[in-house]
Each structure stands twice: as structure tokens, then as C-alpha cells.
Symmetry: C2
Subunit: 155 residues, 2 copies
Amino acid sequence: MPHTHSKADAQFDAALELLRANHQRVTEPRKAIIGILTKEHGPFTAEEVHKRMKKGSCDLVTVYRSLAAMEESSVVRRCDFGDGAYRYEINTGDHHHHHIVCRACHTAQTLDVCVADGLERIARQLGYSKVTHLLEIFGVCPHCQTEQDKQPRQD
Amino acid sequence: MPHTHSKADAQFDAALELLRANHQRVTEPRKAIIGILTKEHGPFTAEEVHKRMKKGSCDLVTVYRSLAAMEESSVVRRCDFGDGAYRYEINTGDHHHHHIVCRACHTAQTLDVCVADGLERIARQLGYSKVTHLLEIFGVCPHCQTEQDKQPRQD
DNA sequence: ATATGTGCAAATTCTTTGCATTAGA
DNA sequence: TCTAATGCAAAGAATTTGCACATAT
């Protein structure tokens, strides 16, 4: 069966739709960025996105500006892995999630569980508005572990 | 009753002890930094710490270097409020905690609950070692809210 | 047609580093 | 005494901004 409409394609189309709905223009650089974020497994920094683009597609500055604009319209989501650079992933919209991030190679795997709702409720009870949260798990992935790093399971 | 030994004093003494235990020197700048972190309510960026020090106490670079050194020895803990600057607080050692951070004024209040243990266990089951996590709650504090920002309670 | 986006260069912000000097243990 | 810490200047990394030009709607 021909792969005429993969999940990535659907996310790509939805992203362009979202841009239009927010009166933001669908430009070549933005399409290229969205293409990368939907087809490759991120999240990526602006520089990582730029490196993955066809050479000469656009300036790194445009990647920064596009990602910032697209975060405004919820096309992408910004992640903070605590290492001094922001990363972006496509915003699937369905439900928010978190990551397990390898401290060594910085690859991330998605964690579909979230446990911070209770804390958000506490914040609202304390009178805070527009409550959100940041939650990421860090560790050294099996692939990056040397034998002596491998901890015996502690569960 | 004279306040001869406040909680801040106890934390201050414990911090110096910890420095010595780790063969790090107890210098004037470090004492000043620890003094601020124990007496004032943080967490603070390196620059915020420096501004709070008596003018001429030490260079900003020394604050950066001291904070980094003191994080090594667990005298302080580094926090990431997702706004591009790291913040430090004294490490009380007892148990880790999180913050509710005001998006507007960047003040933080401590949240003594943590809910990420389950997620850490999942990460270990997935084969990750040295698992830690980052969890902060963001919102606009009552003080920074204008009337229209004030959300009806949603709990 | 016109507001929005882009490229290039330069500025900003946060943080780190090199090296000679100073000061804890 | 002698190693670790500091000051000053300069470098570095990530990100932002100004302004003229280009392009999507």
C-alpha cells in the first residue's frame, strides 16, 4: 500500500493550517522547518534544525524567528532540557507530555504520562493564574552507559 | 530571647562545614554568597547574588565560579526557571522540592511536594542510569495579576 | 498593494576561560 | 608553603535586534 498520507504528512498539513489560522505566512523556510520537525525525531535546537535543512535554505536567524513565531501559534512547543539551549518539537496538540533525556547524547524519548496536574491545582489554589509547568526526566541512556555506569535496577 | 542562632545561621554554618568537608576553601566571597542565600529568599541568578553583595566584595566572575564550585559540593542547588538564566538556592539537604515561579516578577515559592518519583522509576525501568528530574510550576502570582488576569478558581 | 518575513551584520545576554596575583589551609 | 581562589580582560555560546530588501496573501 502506497504511503500517500503518513502521520508526518498529517502533522505537516495541520501545522500549515494552524499557521494560516493565525494569520502567519506559510513561507519556504517555515515549510522546511515543519518538515524536519514532523519527519525527524526531535526535539531539536534552532541550530540542529538549521543543520538538517538543505544547505542555503535560509539563515539561522530565520530559524530562530520562525520557531518563536510558530510557538506563538502553538505550531511548535519549546522544551528546556536544562543545558543552556532551547529545543523545539512539533505540537501534536492532543495532550502534553514530557521526555526522558539522555544526559550524554541529548536524545529524548517521549513519556506519555504526566503527573503535575496536582501541583498545578495547588498553584491555582495559591492564587496563581495562567499556570503551566516544566517537567523533564534526565538520565544516561543504555546506549551511552559504560559497564560500570550501569546501575542495578532499583525498582 | 536573643536570636543567637537562627535557622539561617544554622544553614550558614552547615554550608561552611560542607565546603571544608569537600576540601574547598572558605573564602570571603563564598561566605558572603552563602550569607545571601541563607538570609534572603531566592533562588537567585549569579547577577542577583552579586548585586546583593556589598559593593566591591568580589567580581561577578567569582560569583559564577563560586556557585559552580559550591554546586559540586552540594552546598547550593541549581534551578532552571526556563528563562535563560540559572538560579541558585542553598541546599537544605533534607529533601528535594520544587517551586512555583511567577512568570512576571520571577519570585518563587517553595513547593514541598514532589510527584516525579513514579516517572523516575519508569526511566530506570527503561534502562536509564543516574536519573534525576526537573520540575517547576509557572504562573502569574496574585500580586502581579491585573483584575482581568485573575482567573476564577478552577479546582 | 501591503503587511509580514528574511538576510546580513551587529548587538545583547549569560557564562566560561586564561593568566598573573592573592590568600586560605 | 603551596595549592586553590580571585580579578581583570577577553572569548564563547545562544539568542535577539535593526534595517533594507523580498515575498506571501
